[in-house]
Symmetry: C2
Subunit: 339 residues, 2 copies
C-alpha cells in the first residue's frame, strides 16, 4: 500500500502572492514527504530555476501561458483560457489513478472547471466544499461550505454520505451525522430540510443520524458530520472567521498594551499557543471538493506557504485513503429515485 | 418630552427560571428608572407579595391563569391559552400609546401573537427580529435574526428601511446599509438578493447603501445596518454565539490552569473585562420585533435578571424615541408596488 506512487498536480498561479507562495508551500511539503511527486503547472518565467533543479527528482514542471485571475467569471473561464495552469492541471489528472489536484486560485473557476472536466461521481448531482472545523472534542466535518448557492433534499442526502465517508478516512467508525438548522425540533426550518431529514433517516445512515443541529452547537462537538446547503455553510464559515479574528485581535491588543500585560502574556503564552494551535486556520486549510471523479483540494486564496503545504498534505491523504472508493461504496447502499 | 409617562407591559412567565428571573430583572430596572411604569402579567401564586407591595407605586399586576410554554407550537397558541400572561400583555398594549411589551418566552409565540394581535405597520409584510451586534467600531444593527424562515426582495427592502430608522434612534445620521451575502461582487449569491440590491439601490436609501457585505466583515464595522432573511440571520447569530463561547471557555481554562496563570490573568483582568464588556451579551439582550403596530421586545430565554433589565431598558428607549414614527416616515418615501 505504501509503495503506491502518489502524485499531486498543482496550479502554481492561483491565490495571493502566487506563484511564490505556492512554490514555498511545495518546498515545505517536499521536505516532509520525500516519496510524493508533484506536477507543477505555471508560468516558467515567474518560477525560479533553482527550485526546479533542486527538487528535480520529486517534481515535474509544465509551462502554461495563461493564468486564471481571481476576478475571472467561472462561466467565461469554461470557454476561454484553455491554456491556463488551472485547466491544464485538472485535465492532467483526468482518468488517472493515485493523483489529486490542489489550487489556491479562483474558487468559482476551480469548482466549474473540475466539475465540467472531471465530472461527478455516479448519483452525485453537485460537488460540495468539505472541510474540518475545530470543536471542543477535536473537529467535525462540514459540507457544503460554498460550492453551491442552493441545494435540495437529495443533494443534502448525497452530502451526508460524502461527509460520512470523509469521517471514515479520519478513523471515526460511527460518524454522527446532523443537518444544520435554526432549531432542533422535528418540523423546524425550511421544508427541504425536513425532507432531507426524512431521506437521511430512511437511509442506511439512520443509525448514525442525530437530526438537526443549531449553529451554536457546532463547536460543542455533538456531530461528526454537519450537512447544509452551500449558501448557509458559507455564511456560518465566514461568520466564524470574522468573529474569531475580532476576538483574537482584541486579545492581542490587551496583551501588547503595556509592559506588565506583556509579561502576563509571556506567562500564559505556552498554554495560549496550545489552544491557538487547535483552532489554527493553517491546520484546517484545504477544503476538498467532494463528489468529483478525482481528488480536488481548494486552498484558501490568502493561505500562507505553511497553509498551502497543509492543503497538499490533505490532498495526499485523501488520495492515499482513496476517499472516492469509500464514497462509491456508501452510495451503493442508497436507492436514488430522483433529484 | 421627558414628562410623557412610559409604560412597559411584561410577560413574567416566559424564559428559564421565570417568573423569578423576570421579577429580579424588573427590580434591577426599577432601581434605575423611577419614572417608568411596569404592568406585569403573571401567576400571582408564583410572585412574591413583598415585591408587589414594595414597588406598588411603579407597577401594576395582572393575574393570568395560563402560561405559554417553550414547547407550545405557535399555531396552537393562536387558538388556545387565551388567558396566558403573554397574550394578555400583548392585548393590553394594543392601540395604546407610549407603551411597549417585553417577554423572555417562546419566540415563535411572541412573533405569532404579536403579529396577529397588533398587526404590522402599513407596507410592512412581516416583522423582523432586530438587534445590535458588537463590532470593532461599536455596533451594527442586524435584521432579520430569525422571525421568518424565508424573505423575498420586497421584505429585504422593508427590513433595510426599518433598520435605517433604528439606526437613527441611535443617533447615526447617515447609517450605511448593506445586504448580507457570500460575496461582494454585483451578481453574487441568490437571485432575490440581487433583486433586493436593485430595490434598495433605486430607493431613497441609495446614498446610504453600500451593497453586499460578507459575514467575515460584520465585526469590522463596515456597515451600520445589515439586512438578511431570518434563516440566514439566525444561522450567523448562533454561529457567532457558539464560537464566542468556545473561545472564551478555552481562554478561561488557560487562565485557571494553575496559580501562575491565575496571577497573569489578574494582571490582565481589568483590560480583559473592558473588552469583554464591549461584547457582553447582557448589553445586547432584547431584540426588537420591528414592523409591528407597537413596540415588542424579545429577551433571550436564558437571559439573566441583569440581561432582562437591559431588555426593559431597550424597550423603554424604543418607546421614548418613537421608533415606529421614524419607520412610518421613511416608508412614505417608497412606492410599494407589490410584495
Amino acid at each position: 500500500m505504501d509503495d503506491i506512487q502518489i502524485n499531486i498536480a498543482i496550479d502554481a498561479m492561483g491565490g495571493d502572492n502566487s506563484p511564490t507562495k505556492v512554490i514555498k508551500g511545495c518546498e515545505i511539503f517536499l521536505n516532509f514527504n520525500k516519496k510524493i511527486k508533484l506536477i507543477i503547472f505555471g508560468n516558467k518565467n515567474l518560477i525560479s530555476n533553482n527550485f526546479l533543479e533542486k527538487y528535480s527528482q520529486m517534481i515535474s514542471f509544465v509551462h502554461c501561458e495563461e493564468t486564471i485571475a481571481d476576478n475571472d467569471v467561472p462561466s467565461s473561464v469554461l470557454r476561454s483560457k484553455k491554456n491556463s495552469s488551472m485547466r491544464k492541471a485538472i485535465e492532467y489528472i483526468k482518468s488517472k489513478k493515485n493523483i489529486g489536484f490542489v489550487s489556491a486560485g479562483n474558487t468559482g473557476a476551480v469548482t466549474a472547471l473540475s466539475t465540467i472536466l472531471l465530472g461527478t461521481l455516479k448519483n452525485i448531482k453537485r460537488p460540495a466544499f468539505c472541510s474540518m472545523i475545530p470543536t471542543s472534542k477535536g473537529f467535525c466535518i462540514m459540507l457544503d461550505l460554498g460550492a453551491n448557492k442552493e441545494s435540495n433534499e437529495n443533494q443534502l442526502l448525497q452530502f451526508s454520505i460524502m461527509g460520512h465517508a470523509f469521517a471514515k478516512t479520519k478513523n471515526i467508525s460511527n460518524p454522527k451525522v446532523a443537518i444544520l438548522n435554526i432549531g432542533t425540533e422535528e418540523g423546524k426550518g425550511k421544508e427541504y430540510l425536513q425532507e432531507a431529514y426524512n431521506l437521511i433517516n430512511n437511509s442506511f445512515l439512520s443509525n448514525d443520524f442525530i437530526g438537526y443541529i443549531e449553529p451554536d452547537q457546532i463547536t460543542m462537538g455533538k456531530a461528526d458530520v454537519i450537512v447544509t446547503d452551500g449558501f448557509t455553510g458559507n455564511i456560518a464559515l465566514k461568520t466564524a472567521e470574522g468573529l474569531s479574528n475580532f476576538i483574537m485581535n482584541n486579545f492581542k491588543k490587551v496583551f501588547t498594551k503595556n509592559l506588565l500585560n506583556n509579561i502576563a502574556y509571556l506567562i500564559l503564552r505556552k498554554d495560549l499557543v496550545r489552544f491557538s494551535n487547535t483552532v489554527n486556520p493553517i491546520k484546517y486549510n484545504g477544503a476538498i471538493v467532494l463528489g468529483l471523479n478525482s481528488v480536488v483540494v481548494k486552498s484558501h486564496g490568502s493561505a500562507s506557504p505553511e497553509a498551502f503545504a497543509q492543503a497538499l498534505d490533505n490532498c495526499s491523504e485523501f488520495v492515499k485513503k482513496d476517499i472516492n472508493k469509500l464514497i462509491i461504496e456508501e452510495l451503493k447502499l442508497v436507492n436514488f429515485v430522483n433529484d
